[in-house]
């Protein structure tokens, strides 16, 4: 039984380096004293912390609840006490800190009572809610909340594709997972198939993983098909794998669901099995530690494990190491702070050395050779997008379909001038998003300002009407000979306001503003100017008050 495969345009053949880490079985890690669990581990809104400092938590207990629709829950990786809820280092290319719950393990590793789910007899919507509370997100790297992807919605999903291509060099976590836990993966796939109601199930695995292919072929039932796809980076990209297996191209700006196909990662299927059949939320995942380390391999790692502890479990970096990469060498990023924890998105930690990862050569001018366009798996023209991204002409960059770029890095990989094309595209995309955001807030501000103007007008009108009425009344009263009594409250009100001002002045003298210490001279100057302006205005208002 052989399926007709399609070959997408472009793609590259980087050195695999898979053998470094795929020879040994997945190892478990011993319990650590501390776990740092970030609240933002998925695409969408970060989870909302549900615990406070000092709380005792059990393994699998929900510590962050999904907030908004595109979000998912976060759980405690072990039992212990919450010792901090603050900004911590996270695995992010910026090296910035983000909100995380820090758990001090008590060493008991006591779990909640996990309730297996009778998913076959469960309403799909209830099943999805359950999956949302289990914190499932795509473990391939995009970490899109899984319950949304399991919602067929308006489009009918006819084909489910399981992505076991693992096309990035060095990474072997899905490879080992398929070899060792094929039966469990298949049970997870069955849950997916049930939720989506699709007919065809295809499992795509690159042909450089014969053992995984064999293990999966042995485990699948007759109505699922394991397909060996040629090894070609980025064959594991969602759109690329879809094309390879079905010949269906995903439309520009769309998702594969637009053509009735849904793609899931192998690790997600395995975690789905654990959360549905065992009732255990997503609190661990398989991570590859490889490169210049003592014992490269794959580890079953609790979410929240600091990366430096994970590295220590692999025997530590060998002498001569020159930093770490989170993710694969093509799409990953340099780790800024090794205290950052493993999150749902982290699939690989590579220790660099100058020989395996030489410093990037100098960037030269674009010679318009077109190699990047030949290598681009999304059929784009990177040299044109580069030309305009570099000149910050984002409108034109976008007109070359910049947003169809999957940032796979093929163009940068083949560029004879060593131009970091993908960096330019990321920069351009970020700027365009920023502009969209600014546009949105400007529109909001405009609407609010227009409403305020309208409201003031209305109030003025109302006041005028009222005044006219009152004037009429008083005229009537005067006509009838009654005295108009002055408001007796006015004096009292003034006195109260004066007292409040005095109090506030005293309070302000007592409290020194905390943001004006240790200022650079420029800022100080600016503050002085503002102060001067302010005192002028104050003087005006005061004199005005005296007038009144």
């Amino acid at each position: 039984m052989s399926r007709k495969l399609f070959t997408f345009n472009g793609g590259v053949h980087p050195d695999g380096h898979k053998a470094v880490s795929n020879a040994t079985p997945i190892r478990a890690m011993s319990l650590l004293p501390h776990y740092v669990v970030p609240m933002r581990q998925h695409i969408g809104a970060p989870a909302r912390p549900m615990v406070s400092i000092g709380d005792q938590v059990l393994r699998g207990q929900m510590i962050g609840a999904a907030e908004g629709y595109v979000s998912t829950a976060v759980h405690a990786p072990t039992s212990g006490r919450v010792v901090a809820i603050d900004a911590r280092a996270v695995p992010h290319p910026s090296g910035l800190f983000d909100l995380a719950v820090v758990i001090e393990a008590d060493g008991e590793d006591q779990a909640l009572e996990f309730q297996p789910l009778d998913w076959r007899n469960l309403d799909p919507s209830a099943l999805r809610n359950r999956i949302r509370d289990m914190g499932l997100a795509g473990l391939g790297g995009a970490v899109f909340p899984s319950f949304i992807k399991l919602n067929p919605g308006a489009q009918k999903i006819h084909t489910l594709i399981l992505n076991g291509a693992e096309c990035e060099p060095w990474i072997t976590c899905d490879d080992r997972l398929m070899r060792e836990r094929a039966a469990e993966i298949v049970r997870g796939i069955e849950v997916m198939r049930h939720a989506l109601g699709c007919r065809t199930t295809l499992i795509g695995i690159e042909d450089n993983k014969p053992e995984a292919l064999a293990a999966m072929r042995a485990a699948v039932p007759a109505d699922m098909e394991v397909v060996s796809v040629p090894t070609l980076y980025p064959g594991g990209g969602g759109k690329q794998l879809t094309y390879t297996l079905t010949g269906v191209e995903t439309p520009t700006g769309g998702r594969s669901t637009d053509v009735g196909i849904q793609v899931f990662n192998m690790g997600t299927a395995y975690s789905l099995y654990r959360s549905v059949e065992l009732g255990e939320p997503l609190i661990s995942r398989v991570v590859t530690v490889t490169g210049h380390v003592a014992q490269a391999g794959n580890f079953d790692v609790r979410i929240g494990t600091p990366l430096k502890d994970l590295l220590a479990a692999a025997g530590g970096a060998l002498p001569g190491a020159s930093g770490e990469i989170v993710g694969g060498p093509m799409m990953g990023f340099d780790l800024m702070d090794s205290a950052a924890p493993v999150t749902k998105a982290v699939n690989c930690l590579i220790v660099k050395n100058p020989k395996l990862f030489p410093t990037k050569p100098i960037e030269l001018s674009c010679i318009r050779c077109g190699e990047c366009a030949r290598a681009c798996p999304a059929d784009l023209q990177p040299f044109e997008m580069y030309w305009y991204s570099r000149a910050k002409d984002f409108g034109r960059a976008q007109s070359y379909n910049l947003f169809d770029c999957i940032e796979c890095g093929c163009c940068s990989f083949v560029c004879p001038s060593h131009i970091p094309l993908v960096d330019y595209f990321r920069f351009a995309k970020a700027e365009i998003w920023e502009r969209e955001r600014e546009k949105y807030s400007a529109d909001q501000a405009r609407i609010r300002h227009e409403f305020k103007t309208f409201r003031l007008e209305r109030e003025k009108q109302e006041k005028a009407d009222k005044f006219a009425k009152a004037a009429e009344k008083s005229r009537e009263a005067a006509a009838s000979g009654a005295d108009v009594v002055a408001d007796p409250d006015a004096e009292k009100k003034k006195a109260i306001l004066q007292a409040a001002l005095e109090r506030a002045k005293k309070a302000k003298e007592a409290v020194t503003p905390k943001n004006t210490d240790n200022l650079p001279p420029m800022v100080q100057k600016e503050i002085d100017e503002i102060e001067a302006r302010r005192s002028k205005v104050e003087g005006n208002t005061e004199s005005q008050a005296r007038h009144e």
């Binding site: 290319p93 983000d98 405009r446 609010r448 300002h449 409403f451 305020k452 109090r503 409290v511 205005v537």
Partner: protein, 182 residues
């Protein structure tokens, strides 16, 4: 000579007739250009341009009464986009108009006396509160215009620069490596 005058008069009359007809036929009621300019302006309503808001400034630009480089919150980028729309050369921001880092106003809860002066000053109604109640600024609606600073009688409002977090972080412009090698 008479023929020449007659000929020129005839041509003039004919063309005058056509143009008169066209000016009635193609009359333009209002100027949609103002809307397009207003769409580019950042809508902070801060008045740093010397006009009482973004819309009046847009109208002034459309009429040719104001230059395009008077809007510091829009920055060089805004000037560039205005220049593109209007087909003129971009120029640096005007004298003394420096763009400041994006910030939001924050009310010090301990000092606020609840006078509602800032509420009246806020052009986008981003301050919530009532008389003698503590006021709070809705950070997501605040445009950072600083118009609430001068009216506050107790100086309890300060501007805080918006810090970058993981969500708002942007990929930087790739650094050229040419110089380091040379």
């Amino acid at each position: 000579m008479i023929t020449a005058i007659f000929v020129m008069a005839a041509i003039g009359l004919l063309l005058g007739g056509i143009l008169g007809w066209a000016s009635i036929k193609f009359r333009v009621e209002d100027d949609p250009l103002v809307e397009k300019i207003d769409a580019i302006l950042p809508q902070t309503q801060c008045g740093q341009c010397g006009f009482p808001g973004c819309k009046p400034y847009a109208e002034a630009i459309a009429k040719g009464e104001a230059d395009i480089n008077q809007c510091p919150p829009g920055g060089a980028e805004g000037v560039k986009r205005l220049a593109e729309l209007l087909g003129v050369e971009a120029k640096p921001l005007g004298e003394g108009l420096e763009p400041k880092p994006k910030s939001v106003a924050v009310i010090d809860e301990n000092t606020c006396i609840g006078c509602t002066l800032c509420i009246q000053a806020c052009p986008v109604d981003a301050i919530v509160g009532a008389a003698k109640q503590m006021h709070v600024i809705v950070a997501s609606q605040c445009t950072g215009c600083e118009l609430c600073l001068p009216p506050c009688p107790v100086d309890c409002i300060s501007m805080q620069v918006i810090k970058e977090d993981v969500l708002t972080w942007k990929w930087r412009y790739p650094i050229h490596m040419m110089k380091r090698a040379a």
